[in-house]
């Protein structure tokens, strides 16, 4: 059955996917590079990310097919398409199990202390598995339901920490560490916008493709704006040292909320934002992997691949990433390289194929 979604639903899904891991890790990573200019690093990253999204939107033309991998086959030939799919699968597989493990570690360290992260990873994988088996339409409809709640939590977080903010902590603006401010854009984009290649598999399912391209930009831009605000708030409230020292600085930001000695320790708002956004990120990546494997293994029904894939994801998450320090090292090295290689190779090869086809049509 062909699955169709609206452009608004697509915007929401892009928003959730961009915010996923980024909302919790980006303030720390951006501040590590840009220091008091960390929020400016995120602004530059968002602008460059929008350019990347614009590039991604040009990759899908007016094809009738809703399967992105079949579109790739038609455009670049089976062999190159197969290599590109393999590259994308390796990257998205990494993203999925890293996300599953990071939420499990976060909950195990901060909320349900003492609960083994393996159990939490099992629960996260299982919820993702259920979502994927229900299909894309159900995933985007649930995203639509949770979107207002996510926005409300984000707005409350940004507003309630405001009394604790000291603007002196974000000064001087762009007077020091200019080079580091720009270099920090690299890991920030790798963790946010490069991962959006996963949306290429959803893009052809949108009813109106022209609206979908706008929706892609709006979703990415809105998420970027939220990350800028959160990073600014983290630096203004915790200071550069406080933001860098904590692996989950936004969670510590939530712990700072004190309103009239009545509303206190509502950091669980942050946890809600992360639970919800990461669930959609894991589900979308899981869906991508299922569809990619379905295409590669020439299977009729992708449901047959979901359970084994979930088991492999769980086992990989449990064994491959030992601790949060290793995660940060990965984000600044292997993951960063893999994300750029995948994102840029896929976009470049598909764009070149499109240009060559247009040139050939002109010559004819």
């Amino acid at each position: 059955m062909e699955q169709k979604i609206s452009s608004i639903q697509f915007t929401v899904l892009v928003f959730m996917n961009t915010l996923g891991t980024a909302i919790i890790f980006i303030p720390t990573i951006a501040t590590r590079y840009g220091r008091e200019n960390g929020w400016i690093t995120v602004i530059f990253a968002t602008l460059l990310g929008m350019v990347f999204i614009l590039w991604l939107t040009t990759l899908i033309g007016q094809e009738d097919d809703t399967n992105f991998f079949k579109i790739m086959d038609n455009r670049v030939g089976k062999l190159i398409s197969y290599c590109l799919i393999l590259l994308m699968v390796s990257f998205i597989f990494f993203t999925t199990f890293a996300n599953i493990w990071s939420i499990a570690q976060f909950v195990s360290l901060q909320i349900l202390m003492g609960t083994p992260p393996q159990v939490l990873a099992l629960i996260s994988t299982f919820t993702g598995l259920i979502a994927v088996r229900y299909g894309l339409e159900v995933i985007v409809r649930s995203a639509e339901i949770f979107f207002p709640f996510t926005m409300l939590s984000l707005t409350l977080l940004a507003l309630l920490v405001w009394p604790e903010a000291q603007l002196i902590r974000v000064q001087p603006v762009m007077q020091l560490n200019q080079a580091a401010t720009f270099v920090g854009v690299l890991p920030v984009i790798a963790l946010t916008y490069m991962e959006l290649i996963v949306m290429l598999v959803v893009l052809p399912h949108v009813n109106d493709l022209r609206q979908a391209k706008k929706a892609f930009l709006i979703g990415g831009g809105l998420a970027g704006f939220c990350i800028i605000i959160v990073t600014f708030a983290a630096i203004a409230v915790l200071g550069v040292d406080g933001t860098v020292r904590h692996a989950y600085s936004i969670y510590v930001l939530g712990q700072n909320i004190q309103i009239a000695e009545f509303f206190e320790r509502i950091e669980v708002l942050v946890a809600f934002i992360w639970f919800i956004t990461i669930f959609f990120k894991v589900s979308t990546c899981f869906y991508f992997l299922s569809i990619a494997l379905q295409h590669m293994l020439k299977v009729k029904n992708y449901h047959s691949l979901t359970v084994p894939l979930g088991m492999i994801l769980l086992a990989t998450a449990m064994t491959n990433l030992p601790n949060i320090f290793y995660d940060f090292e990965m984000m600044n090295s292997t993951y960063l390289i893999l994300s750029y290689i995948t994102g840029l190779t896929v976009a470049t090869v598909l764009s070149l194929a499109m240009l060559i086809r247009k040139y050939k049509e002109k010559v004819k």
Binding site: R32, F94, V307, P308, A315, N320, S333, I337, L338
Partner: protein
């Protein structure tokens, strides 16, 4: 550990019985192959068998790029 392994075996049996009737032909064949592979992999994770890790593999493949990049990025980090 024995309890975890028993739980895994129960899970494998239940899932096989439940999923078997849903797929036919190539789908069923691919499902069984992948499921067997995934079960062994999950068992290896539970009993701590030393098997090649995905991240180590990617790390090894990208190591020529990783070291210079990390050295360059380290100059700009706190």
């Amino acid at each position: 550990m024995l309890f975890h392994v028993l739980l895994l075996i129960t899970f494998i049996i239940v899932i096989l019985i439940y999923e078997w009737k849903h797929y036919q032909g190539r789908d069923r064949y691919v499902f069984v192959m992948l499921f067997a592979l995934a079960s062994i992999y999950l068992l290896a994770a539970i009993v701590d068998w030393r098997i090649p890790e995905y991240v180590q593999g990617v790390d090894f493949l990208l190591s020529p790029l990783k070291k210079p990049l990390q050295a360059w990025l380290d100059q700009f980090q706190i």
